[in-house]
Structures are given as C-alpha cells and as structure tokens.
C-alpha cells in the first residue's frame, strides 16, 4: 500500500552511492561563506559532475544527454540532493522551464546544439516573462518583436529575471501584434543574452543580494528560426512553460528556512522568565504548529511521490506548498529572533546564500518568498479557480474576447 517499488528503491540507492562521495566538495558545509559568484561556479561543477555520471536531465531524452527516466526518479533525486544541501537551485529554472520548451518546440539541430551544454552546466538559461508593468498579469507584456525579413527585432525591458547575470540564453515572450487582443498578440522566442543590444543589470534586493535582474533589449536581432510555436501563440506557450512541472519536488518542508531543530535548540538555551524558553507556552505553540505544518507538507509530498510512482498525476494539493511554507518560515524566524532579543539584530549580509542556516536572513528573505514564483494572492486565486472551480476575477482586459 505504501512503499516504493524495489526498482525505485534500487534507484535511490544508486543515487545515494553517487552523491555521498561528493558531499565534501559540494555539500552544505562546503558552501558556507562562499560569494554568490563562487557558489554559482560550484553549482556549474556539480551540474557537470551529475552529467558525467548520467544523472543530469533525468527526464530528458537520452539522445540529447538526458537519462530518459520519469518524474518519479527526478523527485527522488532532488530529495537526496536537498538533503545534502547541494547547489542545485541555480539550474532549476534553466532545466525545468526553458530547456523543456526547447525540447518540445525547437528543431532537432537546435536541440542537439543547446540541450547538452545546458545539462552539463556550461550554459544557463533564463525565463524572461515579467516586465516592469506586468508581473502576475503575464499577457500584458509590452516588449516588442517586429518582423524584419527573416529576423525579428526585439526591443523593450524585462525584469525580475532570476540569475540572468549568469545566463547565456533565455526564453522570452514579446508582443508581435500590437493590434491583436491582448492574449493573442504575443510570440515566444529564445534569445542569446550575450548578443549585441542586450543589457543585464542586477537588481539589489531588500537583503542586499543580487539574484534578480533587469534585462534591456535594444533592437536585438534574432532569427525567425529561434521562434518557438506559431506567431501569436506566445501566451499559450508562456502558460505552458509555467505549467511544465506541475509537481516540482518540494523536499524542503521548512519553507526553505532553518530547520525546526535550530529553533528548539535556541529555545532550550534561552532563558525566559527564569526558565528555558522551551517551557514557555507561546514558544511551544510556535514549535508545535510549525512541526504540524511540516508533517502535513511532508505527507502531501510523499503522497505525490506515491502517485507519480503509480503512474498517476499527483493531486493538486501540492500547489499549497509555497504558500504554507513561506508562512511557516515567518513564524519560526520571528520566534527565533524574538528569543535572541537584541542579539537578533545581528546581521551578516553575506548570509544571503544560506537562509536555511541564518534566522535573520530567513526573516529578511521571507517577503521575497511570498512574491517570487507566484504571489500569495495569485496562488490563492489558482487554488480557488483551478481546484475549487470558483469563477475568475472581474477581468476587463478579457472583455473584448
């Protein structure tokens, strides 16, 4: 009724045997104190190591350097990766959005050219959808794509582009027909981010680090062969990109914050009203409820794994993970900082790479977590509309359709 098949357990054992010798070089401890540049460089080496061992692109076709396995193996692999703190996050976007779209829509020659280097970590890809005036409202993009013979000329600006400063290519959606209704005037391309006319400008976030970017396109020329899908199909392909991995491995139940153990330890070391804070009802409430939430997310994740293993689509409840995890992070981080009192003020700006080990950085990063990858409000809309079948919001932008 519950256990994974012997084949999957054997696969997991192979993964563990592969990963364990690499912990010293790539694990959480090895990454402490690295700059973002150095951590990304380490991540490239880890990606290359995985590729050499046949563990990169587990779900991708073998002919393009993948392993030809299914999503369940991918989920198990990511669980083990996360457990060791390996630097895999930098390639998540690259390999779960742009590259799968290349695999679906590009020519065989293009796939052979672009997919293997991406799997080896030699090239990174970005997703260029959001613009200054359009975040959640994807169809409102203004970046223009104008036909010029066999080419297109791109001009405009994208923003919130994660790790664009390290990226070589990206997938982009631009307005090819300004006269068509909003959702039908878009076309989808891939683009060389090192080409003339492309300017990448990192954005400094509230915690001081630079993970997002503005990307400017000043008359950037791309061949029509780099168009993916039909002219005018850009909105559909953009949504498809966001839907590719409906179930991404959510192996981190702490909402990406420090483990609950760290709060428990702090509560035992800290005196509150003449006794350990771990005996204070308010603190115990936070600890107990965070544990309960983690249990729930963990059970939801495991159920999804079992569904995948049974060849079924996971239930939609996995979509609440980020919403709930981000809330849990806030409660745990604030409780921990409160226990530290004025010591909680101490802040290491270089800790932005490790919000999982640093409560102040975890708290600092929490507002970003509520917004990045779909705001809390959009996630609730999605739950209400897609899962519960409630009607869409009032949408005057769709009135003309």
């Amino acid at each position: 009724m519950s256990a994974l098949s012997p084949e999957l357990e054997a696969f997991r054992a192979r993964v563990v045997a592969f990963m364990d010798p690499h912990v010293a070089e790539f694990g959480q401890a090895a990454r402490l104190g690295l700059s973002l540049d150095d951590d990304v460089a380490l991540a490239r080496r880890w990606q290359a190591t995985k590729a050499a061992a046949g563990f990169a692109g587990l779900t991708f076709p073998v002919e393009y350097g993948g392993a030809g396995l299914s999503q369940i193996e991918q989920v198990l692999f990511v669980e083990e990766e996360a457990a060791r703190g390996f630097p895999s996050a930098y390639f998540v976007i690259s390999l779960s959005m742009p590259i799968p779209m290349v695999l679906r829509y590009a020519t065989p020659e293009q796939k052979a050219r672009f997919v293997p280097p991406a799997l080896r970590g030699e090239q990174m890809w970005s997703q260029l959808f959001s613009e200054p005036s359009t975040g959640s409202d994807l169809a409102a993009v203004r970046t223009r794509a104008v036909r010029d013979g066999g080419d297109w000329i791109l001009s405009g600006q994208k923003v919130w582009t994660t790790f664009a400063q390290y990226s070589d290519y990206g997938v982009i959606v631009a307005r090819s027909d300004p006269d068509a209704p909003k959702h039908r005037g878009l076309t989808y391309f891939f683009v060389d981010l090192k080409a003339p006319g492309v300017t990448v400008r990192p954005i400094r976030q509230l915690h001081g680090a630079e993970e997002f970017n503005e990307v400017f396109f000043d008359d950037v020329r791309i061949p029509d062969a780099w168009r993916l899908g039909e002219v005018g199909a850009g909105f559909r392909l953009a949504v498809e990109t966001l839907m590719i991995e409906r179930y991404t491995a959510a192996a981190d139940e702490t909402g990406f914050g420090p483990p609950l153990d760290a709060l428990v330890a702090l509560a035992q070391e800290t005196q509150l009203n003449g006794r350990p804070a771990s005996q204070d009802g308010r603190v115990r409430s936070v600890i107990a409820r965070a544990f309960a939430t983690q249990q729930a997310l963990s059970a939801i994740h495991e159920k999804s794994v079992l569904e995948l293993a049974a060849g079924r689509e996971p239930g939609p409840e996995g979509s609440i993970h980020k919403l709930v995890g981000a809330r849990g992070r806030r409660e745990v981080a604030i409780c921990a900082l409160d226990l530290m009192g004025a010591d909680g003020l101490r802040f290491d700006a270089a800790a932005h790479l490790r919000p999982k080990t640093d409560f102040a950085m975890s708290w600092m990063d929490q507002p970003t977590l509520r917004i990045a990858g779909g705001t809390d409000e959009m996630l609730l809309n999605t739950v209400a509309e897609r899962i519960l079948g409630l009607p869409q919001d009032y949408r005057p932008d769709k009135a003309s359709r």
């Binding site: 609950l260 115990r284 107990a288 159920k303």
Partner: protein, 370 residues
Amino acid sequence: MAFLLDDDQRQIVREAERLLADNFSPDRLRDLLERTGSHDQVFWTACRDMGWTAITIAEEYGGLDLGPVELCLTAQVAGRFVAGAPFLSTSFGASEALRRHATPEVRARLLPGLAAGETIGAVHLSAALDADATPQLRDGALHGALGPVAAGLQAGLLVTLAHDVATETDVMVLAELDARTRRAPVQTFDNSRGYADLAFEGAPASILTTADARKAALDLLAGVAVVVAFEQLGVAEACLERARAFANERQAFGQPIGKFQAIKHRVAEIYVATELARGTALSAVLALRDNADDLVIRAGAARLCAIEASELAAREAIQTHGAIGVTWEHDLHLYYRRSRALALELCAAGRWEDVVAERLVAHHARDLTA
C-alpha cells in the same frame, strides 16, 4: 509517511457516503439540539448494520479485523454528515484499550458486544495530559466523579485513569457502568454527543495496566484522537464544499460572490487548512496502524491541524453565507457546534501543543547527550 487508498478502501468510502447521504436529516439533528441526552438512532443503526462498530476488532471476537485506516475513512464520512452520535470513536477507544491491555478472558467477554454495537464504550483520558485528581479505585470498585464524558449517557464500558488506593499509584481502569454509576445528562451546545457527568458509587472496575499507566493512557488517547481527526477532516470538507457551492451560486453586485477575492481567498484558505489536516491525519493513521513509536507526536500534529481546519472551515463557511448562515434553519451551525465540541472533547489544542513540543524538545536533548 503517506499512502494511497486501495480499491477496497475506496469502496468503503463510497458505501459510507451513499448510506449516510441517504439517511442525512439535518432536521433530525436540529431537533436533537433541543433535547438533552438523545442521539440520532437512525445514524447509529446504520453504523451497526454496516458493521462499522466491528471494523478494528479481531475476527475471533466477531469483528472484521480491518485496520484503523478503514475506521478512520468511515469516521471522515460520518464527519461530513455531522455524525449523530459519538460512538464510533468512543467505542474504538474502549475496544482498543481491551485489545492492548485486557486478558483474553476479558476480551472474549466484552469485545463481541462492542463489535456488534450492543455495548457502547467511552473514554475519559484527559488526566494523561495533566495532573488532575482522578477517581479512586478501592477493592475493585470505582469512586469519585468525572465529566462531561462523551457517550457517558449510553456507555456500558468506560476506560479512564484512576488512583489505586492499594498501591498509591495511578492505573488505567476499565469500569463497567451499571446502576452503581449515576449519570447526569449535560446540556451542551452539541447535544447529540451523549455528554454526561458520571458519579461512581462503587462501579465495578478492573485494572488494565499499572506499568506506566499515564503513558498507556496517552497512547490510547492519541489513537482516539486520530479517529476524531478524520471526523474533523470530514467536517472541514463538508463546510468547504458548502462554501464553494454558495460562492458559485450566490449573486451580488451583478456577479457570483466567488468572483470577489475577499470571498474566493477565504474559500481557498479553507482548502489549504483542509489539505494540511488531511496530510497530518494520513500520516498519523499509518503510525496507529503500524504501532509506530512516534504515534503520539503524529497524532498531536493531526489533532492541531484538524482542530484548525474544522473550526476555520465552519466559521468561514458561515461568513461566506452571510445572514442565512446564522439562522437556525441553515445547516452550518451544526458543523460550527460540532467543530468546537470535537476541539474540546479530547483535550484542547494547547494541551496537544505541549505534547508535540515536549517531544521535540526531549528529542533534541537526547541528541545532545548521545
């Protein structure tokens, strides 16, 4: 820990849904609210006819020898229809105590009655979580008082903690409730639960366990809490469905109210809480099925999420309905009452927060010394 339902389990759920939907009478439940000490006999007869009273009991005692998973799935469906009696979970507490602690002779004498639903069981185990004085056990007879006890009015068997005068220790006892126990019905806001204050005037009682009675009682309480967590999950699901349906149907300002984010986000939040409750409940019932060492902490997590989900769902479903939701004729107050009753019946949330936190702290302390 997680699992997927197999075909047999899905069949159990379908049958329970069909039967309870056919027998569901909110009017009858409303009527019970105005009478102290009654329960829904139609519901209970259905439970007995379907063999739900026998689910977890071994075949040799007239049971079906299925596991707690099947009982919990049934309890979940019962929760959706505001079960008109508490006996599925309270009798489970009694039969489970017998299974774990009684001699074969006692099991053979008492389990068949529980399996057939002829005997109703009750538990009162809150003393496992605090140091309250317990009834006294003297010469095989119980003295003192307890209450309110769910199913206390109807129960023939009660499992509770008592102070054994002979050994001056706390023990877990099985009391047979006959004329030597006075039962006073208690008027509450959820009257179909058979709540009663019990006064023991020499009720015959036998010791189930002396060794670490408090731990045994907590383990038992945790098991019952898992079953009740599924009932609470059912309450949350029913309220979610009603809020969802109303938000789709009800028109205001020229559109369904579900189009307004203030409404749709509220309904979505009920879904989120309900899924968290489902996740922890599934995890806990596996611990119960497997006699896992971490049953208590998993049950605690399930209880916290189940209380949260059922209460949030009931109150926000009412809010979604507006004024019709606060009328006597509307069904939602049945769920509202039930959500609070179940939150109080098996020790309130704060106690369970302590249970969970204490275990995490102790676990951490062990890691430090290891």
